[in-house]
Symmetry: C2
Subunit: 367 residues, 2 copies
């Protein structure tokens, strides 16, 4: 019986300055840890979550009663193992699971920030995580993440080149592509089109559920592959022998998508979705270096493992190769593997023995 | 100066029975013709339009004042040439450009059908077109179309195997895939989530514009390729030197998509969008033949030209190959070409000399 994941809070009362120049008066970080920091403070592994994840990477999520989102990677006998590692996972800045975000109370108004929350970046998320790592007195660490978590892992190596010993970046990219931005914009417009969004000022306990559900449905398609959808659903009908000649969910894939959309609205905040997708769109590691990605990594001392999946069309292998080429040009130690998978982008979240072998081998040699 | 496309109506007062068994009390068909039917009535080319097209394939669209949607293919000196061909294009059943659809008046209520309109299929569209072709006294013909137009062209050969001499099916499929259905379902849910949709009973002159716009934005991404979006927009900013740290359209691709969504709502009806996407989802030529596509084509006498585009991920080349293999198995004459294009599914609508050469050569030999 796995343990309930702990649900800690760190309150940092000092002002927190964002990449935009805006200042948050204070910072609250929701986080979980697993395992024990060793005497040398040398066994820390920071796991960074993706767009809709949270700090409960392992054990049982205390709010849902379900397994944490990456129990196939983090836990006893797994590549990231509390028996060896001090595992830290924090809800990202802008999130809705304990860390300061648009649902937090704005001390200036006494109400939730809503759209008064400042726009954040991946760098801001990383800087907030660094404050948590500082709180533990940890100097150097390994950083691991998939998708948006991989963006944070890469950005850690750029922002804190002397602190990061190892980076595992899975199914990710060093910048958001035009197509990535386009899909996010569809989701944001779906949320903003919902009158219940109310300019972001929806009352606590309510949600623009219809819009958020549509946003999630559109995004969810991008997490799966065409082949995976065909294998899983094809044109199979849902609980019927023939089409209904109507607009019910005749097809299993429709029923599945509707369920994904609706259940998402029960666990995620619409404004958080706006802010976090925006942070991803703004992500372009090479931008401050005139587009030269290798320059971004110039000072890094980390070893890197970069992993992509054959059927991931959201962050395709070409984006991983771009990272690897830049790391090579920067003289960094990097191993790259493209794993065969039919499950699209979601492959990084699924039980994948070959992914576990890669991460296990890399961390054994690095941490 | 090209001519204004004619905007004809054919009223067929007899009841029209649909694939579902539902009966429309009468049928109105909005159509355009170009050129002259020869004495042998042997030079007819029916052009079938795609999801959001209309009957104004050539000349100037009388409602928008802009060129018809396929002037690069149909017109003087083009592969489909009114100087040689009697070109017919009809607004599809369920459409909103003159043919009976959800915006038409339901004689039973005196108001627009709205969601009281029966669900239709691609076969119903084809059967309605056949009524128009019968009206001209045309026995045999060539049928040409891309995307949903290609579905109709293929279905013509299945429904009327003795009447179709030639089929040109471009950037299409013999069935809708799970991913195709999924994207359509997102669009439908976006429309239905808009309170202005009002269960389909929105007053004439109004629209669930916000929902329809989101639907169009999501669909539009599927019409373009990742590479095409990168080439056209990349991460370039819209009329600014730096990101705004806000939710305006910072990126050109956002501005472009918003424009596509909004302008669409000025020319297309939301309920028509629901019905036509549903017809596409239901399309599976092999279904009545236990999944054997070759059996669907068993009786055909037509010659076929099947064309796909390398970067079309909506109806990828694999779907065209499936059609070609079935036609081969059925003993039909078929030529297949995959054209190199970076423009994704939209390539069939764009100026593409190689596509024109294929269609020109095929029609010269067939019609």
């Amino acid at each position: 019986m796995p343990d309930i994941s702990p649900d800690y809070r760190l309150h940092l009362p000092q002002p927190f300055t964002l990449a935009s120049g805006a200042v948050l008066p204070a910072l609250e970080i929701g986080y979980a840890t697993y395992g024990t920091l060793d005497a040398a403070r040398s066994n820390a592994v920071l796991v960074c979550h993706a767009l809709t994840g949270n700090q409960h990477v392992a054990g049982v999520d205390p709010r849902t009663g379900k397994p944490g989102w990456w129990t196939r990677m983090v836990g006893p006998g797994k590549p990231i193992d509390p028996a060896r590692h001090f595992v830290v996972c924090a809800n990202v800045l802008g999130g809705c699971s304990g860390t300061t975000g648009p649902t937090s109370r704005d001390p200036a108004t006494g109400a939730a920030y809503g759209m008064g929350f400042p726009v954040i970046t991946i760098r801001d998320m990383v800087t907030a995580q660094a404050a948590l790592i500082d709180h533990f007195g940890i100097d150097t660490l390994a950083v691991v993440g998939g998708s948006m978590g991989g963006m944070q892992a890469l950005d850690w190596a750029v922002a804190f080149p002397e602190r990061v010993r190892a980076v595992v970046a899975i199914a990710t990219a060093a910048r958001h592509s035009a197509q990535n931005i386009a899909f996010h914009e569809v989701g944001r417009q779906a949320i903003m089109a919902d009158p219940a969004w109310a300019g972001g000022a929806y009352p606590p306990g309510t949600q623009p559920s219809a819009g958020l559900s549509v946003a999630r449905m559109a995004a969810h398609i991008t997490y799966l592959s065409e082949a995976g959808l065909t294998e899983k659903f094809g044109r199979r009908l849902q609980d019927r022998d023939a089409v209904s000649f109507g607009f019910d969910a005749d097809f299993q894939v429709e029923s599945y998508l509707r369920h994904q959309g609706l259940s998402f609205t029960e666990r995620f905040d619409a404004n958080s979705y706006l802010y976090i997708t925006r942070a991803m769109d703004y992500f372009d590691l090479a931008a401050p270096f005139d587009g030269r990605l290798a320059a971004a990594f110039a000072g890094t001392r980390a070893r890197f493992a970069v992993v992509s999946f054959t059927s991931d069309w959201l962050y395709p292998t070409a984006e991983s190769r771009r990272i690897v080429h830049a790391l090579n040009a920067a003289g960094a130690a990097v191993s790259f593997v493209e794993l065969d998978s039919p499950f699209g982008h979601d492959a990084f979240l699924l039980d994948a023995p070959n992914l576990n072998r890669v991460v296990d081998g890399f961390l054994q040699a690095s941490v």
